[in-house]
């Protein structure tokens, strides 16, 4: 077909596309590229086609994006500790635990449920000797059997200080993620399906998908996090990310301060709402992706909201019983 650059030329063009997008690239790279584009008429044509495709791919809608990530880059745990063997062992333990629970059903299963109100922190002493400090608007369900201690964090945030018992593992489930303690203190924060785990003492094993659960479909993926590490799970990303954290940062909320490091506004507001008397809503979805780093005092949320327009292009409107954040660049609705 005339006019269509051949695959080899397209390939070279794609290579230039990657190289030119590097902003640290030198003048020399540009010069070399210009020389290449002038060497043959098909070169510039091919480059323009690749660039045009690049722009189109940038307009991908959220739904298609999600589909593609699921199919081609499904969430996996990043970094050093792929421990398939340990994960398999954990799965066996989970199975065994399931068996024990089944065989002793009605005999030794204890379940309990705990909730905290908005702006209320509370501390619970669990029957096994572990302590859980719950943040505002949080919900926790426990199910202890002879073989394991299962805790589900339904909403909010909790700081666990676990009484270690190798024969009865302590497993916290948060949406798609489960955390297994190995002699530990750790904080878990849940914002919808996003989960942040900050380890302050010892170690934990973190499983994505249903790693330790019985209905495991795509193989257990596990990583270990140690004291001083914070692991973030985002269902829309293909990998968990790890960053450093101090115990003070991890449990700042217990001293009435919410700390955020480079987190989406959506997550920040979800957490603020656990302490705010008037719920805060984000009206324009494009605001949700702005990222925020900083400290919010839970007794000074109003002041923080008042200062937000200085940092972000948004408007704060206060209604009788709620606060609305909207894009300052859009016209206010009449």
């Amino acid at each position: 077909m005339p006019g269509i650059p051949d695959e080899k030329t397209l390939h070279t063009a794609a290579d230039w596309w990657l190289r030119l997008r590097d902003h640290d690239g030198s003048d020399e790279t540009i010069e070399q590229w210009l020389t290449w584009t002038r060497a043959d008429r098909s070169h510039m044509e091919a480059f323009e086609r690749v660039t045009e495709l690049g722009e189109r791919l940038g307009t991908i809608d959220a739904f298609t994006r999600r589909q593609w990530i699921d199919e081609f880059a499904p969430p996996v745990v990043a970094r050093r500790s792929w421990l398939p063997l340990a994960a398999a062992a954990a799965a066996v333990i989970a199975l065994f635990g399931g068996y024990v629970a089944w065989s002793t059903f009605n005999a030794s299963v204890t379940t309990a449920s705990y909730t905290s109100a908005v702006a209320q922190n509370r501390t619970i002493n669990l029957p096994d000797g572990s302590t859980v400090a719950m943040g505002g608007a949080s919900m926790l369900t426990t199910r202890f059997t002879r073989g394991e201690r299962r805790v589900e964090l339904g909403a909010g945030e909790a700081f666990f200080q676990v009484a270690h018992n190798a024969k009865q593992p302590f497993i916290v489930t948060v949406g798609n993620v489960s955390i297994r303690d190995i002699g530990t203190a750790f904080d878990i924060r849940r914002s919808g399906q996003r989960v942040t785990i900050a380890v302050t003492e010892g170690r934990v094993q973190i499983f994505d998908g249903s790693g330790t659960a019985d209905h495991d479909t795509h193989g257990p993926h596990m990583l270990e996090a140690v004291a001083g590490e914070r692991v973030s799970y985002d269902p829309d990303a293909s990998a968990m990310s790890i960053s450093p954290v101090t115990p003070e940062q991890a449990t700042a909320w217990r001293s009435d301060r919410l700390e955020f490091i480079n987190e989406p506004l959506e997550v920040v507001i979800a957490n603020v709402n656990r302490y705010s008397i008037h719920p805060v809503h984000i009206a324009d979805a494009d605001l949700e992706v702005l990222t925020f780093t900083g400290t919010i005092k839970t007794d000074a949320i109003d002041q923080w909201l008042g200062a937000l327009p200085q940092v972000f292009p948004l408007r704060v409107s206060r209604g009788a019983d709620q606060v609305i954040l909207s894009n300052a660049e859009r016209r206010p609705s009449p």
Binding site: I4, E48, L57, T59, A239
Partner: protein, 181 residues
């Protein structure tokens, strides 16, 4: 008047205008392609190119510039970086308003419907080795840096680039087959 005999600002600026006009004629297509590649937006590319030419016209000492072409691309590249930073602060999104779609690059061939386009591209990705499509989706669709993709996939950055390049070329070839009758 009294300016006779020595070059005036007017002379210099006329000369420079001629140089810039020549640059435009010879390199505008490349400049736009370069900027579109950096900005992922044809309309932004046009705007920035425009501004780069204005900067070239208003240079204080144009005669001191060794290579006008290199200088033009450097100015454009800096302006593009500013634009990207501004976008990041504003929105963190590549396309801000639906109105931008009106400025999509004029491609002479028939454009398939958007839904059909994504389906075809997905098919094209399925034809590739798993690593190739994974690297492509992580870098181009998710916008992850090469070193992050490399870390997750346990490959060298060079291999990640290789996979992304292959996927991009393959997808472009498939789109061409689909859109050029």
């Amino acid at each position: 008047m009294d300016t006779l005999g020595k070059p005036t600002d007017l002379d210099t600026s006329t000369e420079q205008a001629a140089r810039v006009a020549a640059l435009f004629r010879e390199h505008n297509r490349a400049l736009i392609a370069f900027l579109q590649c950096r900005l992922n937006s044809f309309s932004d590319a046009q705007e920035i190119a425009q501004e780069a030419y204005v900067r070239m016209l208003t240079l204080e000492r144009p005669d001191e510039v060794v290579s006008q072409r290199a200088y033009l691309f450097r100015i454009a590249s800096n302006l593009a970086l500013d634009r990207l930073r501004m976008r990041k602060v504003r929105n963190d999104m590549p396309i801000e308003l639906p109105a931008d779609e009106l400025h999509l690059p004029p491609v002479p061939e028939r454009h398939v419907t958007t839904g059909e386009q994504w389906r075809e591209l997905r098919k094209a990705l399925r034809e590739l080795p798993a690593k190739t499509s994974q690297a492509f989706v992580m870098h181009v669709i998710e916008g992850r840096d090469f070193h992050i993709v490399a870390q997750v996939m346990k490959l060298s950055e060079r291999m990640v680039r290789y996979h992304v390049t292959n996927a991009l070329a393959h997808c472009r070839a498939r789109v061409d087959e689909m859109e050029i009758p």
